[in-house]
Amino acid sequence: MRAVLRAALGGLPTLLAVLSALAMFSAFLELHGVPATEALQLMVKGAFGSAFAFANTLQRAAPLMLTALCVVLPARAGLIIIGGEGALALGGLAAGSIAMAAPSLSPTIALPLMALAGALTGGMWIAASGALRQWRGVNETIGSLLLSYVAIALFNHLVEGALRDPASLNKPSTPPLPAGWMIGTLPGLDTHWGFAVGALFCIAAWVFMRWSVPGFALNVVGGNAQAARLVGLPVNALIVGACFAGGAAAGLAGMFEVAAVQGSANASLLSGYGTAGILVAFAARQNPLAVIVCAILVGGIGASGSLLQRRLDLPDAATLVLQGLIFANLLAWEAFNGRIGRWQLQLSAPAEPARV
């Protein structure tokens, strides 16, 4: 009984945060003359209310899991990286250029090659932020953001210039992927394989950090880099490695966007997946398993936005407001954790010793 209560208490801040955010959102809607209960019902319906809605949610969640890993993995090493958008763009471009360079390859060779290209490019870009921090002391949050802007500019420059498909008239793109290369949907679900890969990577990341020695070392570095150095851990390698892994995830997300959705690298790759990934990562408190759930949640909010616009005439910004409220509440209610910790401690106090 106590154990159950203890575990339940751990989830209490998250629950309270979500409830509080929904309450604030309802108040906000009511202030604008929008029926809040109807809105919330529509949101649930639009996100999970039918097979179609659910598929929509999962489809949106697919890239978010990978871009969230781009924040989570470095965060475990103690860094805050927010440059996933640039890594995704360059990863997608690299994947698309494989199609340009060698269109006659068979899909069994081409797809892993594209994934490798995307992962390597994205990985190197974020690893650069990590390296700049370790070897030049440049703050990684700002550094990764600046690198992201530069990456996006490079992406646009190349897609509209050197790597442009002359037949892509009104929408500059790299040459389209051969039809046999396109990644299909998961059986039964109307969602592409990126979802499965994303979820797998999240699980793998969690297993790695929980059960492997390098994973444990990473956690130590994230906790206290000084102590880690004293113990002899290769802090620089671990940090840059974590950044590389995070960037590789984002680059892979770019590859999936190219191979499963767009069919070529073009400006539609830049749709804010990187930024949404930051939200998912922080909402999940940097826990890779929770990333899966949070990605679905954020995907659901996005999916329901469509229904809200059509049925209640709410502007698209309403989902932004809700995301901001949820995020802010999740963070604020974290403060509650201290008290929860004490309660959990009380619950686990040993029973009275037996009288002798």
């Binding site: 809605a53 210039g161 008239l169 959705v261 059509r310």
Partner: protein, 368 residues
């Protein structure tokens, strides 16, 4: 045995329940649900607003239900948005108003063969694209040509300017038409082009307008999603401006010469009546001033009288089908001949939709 009240109510209810599906069917067959998707906010004083205003005109029509969604990015989100409109709202005709939606419409269309997808700006190809997808566009370059005539009369420095988003064929066609219209008045006019890089970048658009003004340009127009910033900045720098997408004269009444506007309601009403009457779905719809797909803004107090006469005359020729903008010999701004002497491209000529040059007199390059 008389029918007591309770039995009466029950049987009436049963009857009503039994008839209800028929009622819905009847209603459904009479109401056409039309969906519209916009890539940006529907009140951007420009591209999306032109579509939204035309869709709004449909709302009053009988037997029509209209649903809209704005800010839909050109990714899988638009496929889901379209599908949601079909599955959840029963849409039978969907207007996908942004160019980048085409590939997604083509992908979704085979799944719902009874739904009509009308795409703005795309190039539908028989045999390659599904039959329930159609593309429509307007020859707004005709209006940009007329804008050019107005600019040609108004400019004193013989330098006019064009702020553009990206060097894609639809934009290049507008730049070229604007230039040729101006040069038909004064052959030594030059057009300075500045590309901002994307469709909606207010700070860059303002900077570009200022940079043009610094160069001595005194008439300017644009091809970006929302011309509001350009029009207001041009007015601040005392430059004349020709509008685009929608009528922006109220923003700069002392500097607005005229403008190139969309008249999408003509197109939309065509599609709606075809859908309602069951007429076949038009796969390639194109039109210019002649077909009422585009129009010019009203003249203002600052439009020079000579310009008005010239524009009216040329417009009449265009409507009569007697005027071709793109005809040989035509050189681009690197000296190469792009249209040979004796060749004429009518507005409907598909070759024009892959334009990749800037004509003589334009200062700027296509690639980069």
């Amino acid at each position: 045995m008389s029918l007591d009240r309770r039995q009466f109510l029950i049987s009436t209810a049963a009857l009503a329940a039994g008839l209800a599906p028929f009622g819905r069917l009847l209603a459904a067959s009479q109401t056409l649900t039309v969906g519209a998707l916009y890539v940006g906010p529907h009140d951007d004083y420009g591209y999306n607003q032109a579509h939204a205003q035309a869709i709004a005109k449909l709302k009053g029509l009988p037997g029509l239900k209209v649903i809209e969604q704005e800010n839909v990015p050109e990714t899988v989100a638009v496929e889901k948005a379209m599908e949601a409109m079909i599955v959840e709202d029963g849409a039978a005709l969907i207007f996908v108003t942004s160019f980048g939606y085409f590939a997604h419409a083509v992908k979704l269309a085979p799944k719902y063969p009874k739904v009509r997808f009308a795409h703005c700006g795309g190039l539908w190809q028989a045999g390659k694209d599904p039959v329930n997808v159609g593309s429509y566009f307007g020859y707004i370059d005709e209006c940009q040509y007329l804008n050019g005539i107005a600019a040609g009369h108004a400019t004193k420095s013989k330098k006019i300017g064009f702020v553009a988003a990206k060097p894609i064929p639809q934009v290049l066609r507008n730049i070229n038409a604007f230039t040729m219209g101006a040069r038909s008045i004064k052959p030594d006019i030059t057009t300075q082009v500045i590309f901002t890089g994307d469709w909606s970048m207010p700070v860059k658009e303002a900077e570009s307008t200022n940079a043009l003004a610094d160069q001595g340009v005194d008439v300017v127009t644009c091809h970006v999603d929302s011309p509001k910033v350009l029009v207001e900045t041009a007015a601040k720098r005392v430059m004349y401006v020709c509008g685009y997408h929608a009528d922006q004269s109220v923003l700069a009444p002392k500097f607005y010469l005229t403008g190139a506007e969309w008249n999408w309601e003509t197109v939309y009403k065509q599609y709606v009546s075809a859908a309602q009457s069951g007429a076949p779905f038009a796969n390639m719809t194109r039109g210019g001033l002649k077909d009422g797909f585009v129009r010019m803004s009203a003249y203002t107090a600052v439009t020079p009288p000579a310009a008005r006469t010239a524009i009216d005359a040329t417009k009449a020729e265009m409507i009569a089908g007697k005027f071709d903008i793109f005809k040989g010999p035509l050189k681009d701004n690197t000296g190469k001949t792009v249209i040979a002497a004796g060749t004429t491209h009518a507005q409907t000529d598909i070759a024009l939709e892959s334009m990749n040059y800037l004509v003589e007199g334009v200062i700027g390059t296509v690639g980069g």
